[in-house]
């Protein structure tokens, strides 16, 4: 069972029911569950969308698109059925927040999904978990069955005129399926390759119908927003970045864990106070602020607020909330190689710049780290990555290129230290980390 952590600076909104038995539907109701959806039925779609807009909630999957605005893009009239799709295909390395949501608070996902359906006029919701989360699907399916039994799902939910069905399933192992259009392909029983946009899912999505796709954490935030009011939720966070976020701290932190902190919380404080600093009192070398696809930050760059705008201004991205802490013992060439190995493995092969680019980067970095690097390789790695940017159907190509460029730019010296057949100069220090 994943260990839960806590810190006084936390503001528990999405995580407030963690560890409190809320997988049980009666316990969930006791803890203010299924209140928001009743209010939503009473007050209607315009009220829901107004509250969501006021909340300044931005998509927790990584892109940070305002959720209320996303919902408002779905056309009111549609010949084809509309759908809500909850993206629980959590796969970005460094990210394990949805894992805890499904484990501890599955009804919050169901409730948020129904509210999203009410807001856009959808009658069916899908909850798609990554294949590795099979044990969480079991929890989710039980929660859905309990909600049906209470009349919270099905025909005439909560005694109203609304019908809402939820179907949950898992994938079968594919990072790419976390991308919204590939997710729809996978749900339609196909290979998870991206679709060209426009049209955007809000207009032409699942089975050709208008579709709202939201990350599981985004959906799990919805009922809390309606309960406390959009404005009150917005106030917890920073400017244009409402509410809280589940930050998954991993790597060389003294106390790794998933902490719920207000948007805009200082990154340096997050590492040194919330997570107890760097393990064993070692020096900090770098921080990956939002999952493996986000450009690495130097210790001198981490005195920033963790919201979409401030991290963007610092040249990186808030991403999926995965904060990876690297201490002085890490070889950045090896770290870059492991990162690109992942993207090479996960590239779906649809777009040439991504398929070939990740492959070349992996080959070059493998040779480089093994001591076979040449001086010109360093520029080649950067040039290759820069030419992948923006040239693919989906963001996987960018996700591979962006961190690579940052590794070369910010740690060029470490790349140079590997030249001329020298063995990795950091290998010895790495052994120390295991002692």
């Amino acid at each position: 069972m994943p260990r839960l952590v806590s810190h006084p600076d936390e503001v528990k909104v999405v995580s407030r029911r963690f560890g409190r038995g809320a997988t049980n539907i009666d316990r969930y109701i006791e803890l203010d569950g299924y209140k928001a959806v009743r209010q939503a039925i009473e007050k209607g779609p315009e009220w829901i969308i107004a509250e969501m807009k006021a909340s300044n909630l931005r998509g927790r999957g990584g892109a940070g698109f305002p959720t209320g605005m996303k919902w408002s893009f779905v056309p009111k009239q549609s010949e084809k059925p509309k759908y809500v799709l909850v993206n629980g295909d959590e796969s970005e390395p460094g990210t394990c927040k949805d894992h805890l949501i499904f484990l501890h608070d599955p009804h919050a996902v169901i409730e948020g999904c129904i509210v999203a359906g009410l807001a856009v006029g959808a009658k069916t919701g899908f909850i798609y978990l990554r294949g590795e989360y099979r044990y969480l699907l079991t929890i989710m399916e039980k929660a859905i069955a309990d909600a049906y039994a209470k009349g919270f799902l099905g025909k005439g939910i909560f005694g109203s005129n609304f019908d809402f069905e939820i179907i949950s399933q898992t994938g079968a192992g594919a990072y790419e399926v976390g991308e919204e259009s590939a997710l729809m392909e996978s749900l339609e029983g196909k290979r998870g390759i991206p679709r060209i946009r426009p049209p955007f899912p809000a207009v032409v999505g699942l089975y050709g119908g208008p579709t709202v796709i939201n990350n599981a954490e985004t959906i799990a935030s919805v009922s809390h927003i309606l309960n406390m009011g959009g404005e009150a939720y917005a106030k917890i966070g920073s400017n244009r970045n409402g509410g809280t976020r589940l930050f998954c701290i991993s790597g060389h932190a003294e106390r790794p864990g998933v902490y719920e902190l207000p948007m805009g919380y200082n990154l340096k404080k997050m590492i040194y106070e919330v997570a107890g600093g760097v393990r064993g009192g070692r020096q900090l070398k770098a921080v990956v602020p939002g999952g493996s696809s986000t450009p690495v930050l130097l210790p001198s760059e981490i005195d920033i607020g963790m919201d979409f705008d401030q991290v963007g201004k610092a040249g990186s991205m808030l991403g999926s909330g995965g904060v990876v802490v690297l201490d002085e013992t890490v070889c950045m060439v090896e770290f870059a190689l492991r990162t690109i190995q992942f993207y090479q493995h996960e590239s779906c092969g649809w777009c040439i710049p991504c398929r070939e680019g990740t492959d070349w980067l992996k080959k070059t970095l493998t040779r480089f780290h093994a001591g076979g690097g040449e001086a010109k390789d360093i520029d080649h790695i950067q040039y290759l990555a820069e030419n992948m940017l923006g040239r693919t159907f989906c963001p996987l190509g960018d996700a591979a290129a962006m961190p690579t460029i940052a590794f070369v730019k910010k740690f060029r010296q470490e790349f140079e230290d590997h030249l001329n057949g020298k063995p990795c100069p950091y290998a010895k220090q790495q052994e120390l980390t295991l002692a």
Binding site: H99, G251, P256
Partner: protein, 174 residues
């Protein structure tokens, strides 16, 4: 087995799956707006029952969804958790992605290789264990993490990994 023909499919009504799974499939295909949406869950459940996705399973699933064997294979080969060959009773999947790597994931993998005497995607001669180096499994804050079949095990050390392997070994002998 031909790739494109559906002529070799089993007779309608007959099934290679257990009655429980066959009943589950009957229901699953009606849940979605389009039958084909049930494909990935069906492949996973078939694999859980048989141990891998066999040719016969592919044929029957194709028939149940009214798609060709080639369509099924086309999807099957995309997803890394689906396999067309048997593995050991316990499939030990060691994450070595960045968060696990920083906390000793590579060492856990090396340790498993050493203890089990097998490499990546290999199976012990007694058929008990298979080993696989996998990408991020979503347990980053509790690294290093391993999945054995669908079960997660977090914050491992070489010692606790040994204990875990012993646990599975004794589970198998019971």
């Amino acid at each position: 087995m031909s790739l494109t023909s559906i002529a070799e499919n089993p007779k309608p009504g007959s099934t290679i799956f257990s009655p429980e799974l066959a009943a589950r499939f009957d229901k699953l295909v009606t849940l979605y707006p389009r039958r084909r949406s049930a494909l990935i869950p069906m492949l996973l459940y078939a694999q859980d029952e048989i141990g891998y996705v066999s040719d016969a399973a592919i044929a029957e699933i194709g028939q149940r969804l009214d798609i060709t064997v080639l369509d099924v294979r086309n999807v099957l080969t995309y997803y890394s958790m689906l396999r067309t060959k048997p593995v050991g009773k316990y499939n030990v999947q060691v994450c070595t992605n960045i968060s696990c790597m920083l906390r000793g994931g590579q060492e856990i993998l090396a340790h498993c290789k050493d203890r089990l005497g097998i490499g990546h995607k290999e199976t012990t001669p007694d058929g008990l264990f298979s080993l696989e180096e996998v990408e991020c499994i979503g347990a980053c804050s509790w690294a290093p993490a391993v999945q054995v079949n669908y079960d997660f095990h977090e914050e491992l050390t070489p010692e606790s990994m040994d204990a875990l392997l012993d646990e599975y070994r004794s589970k198998a002998s019971q």
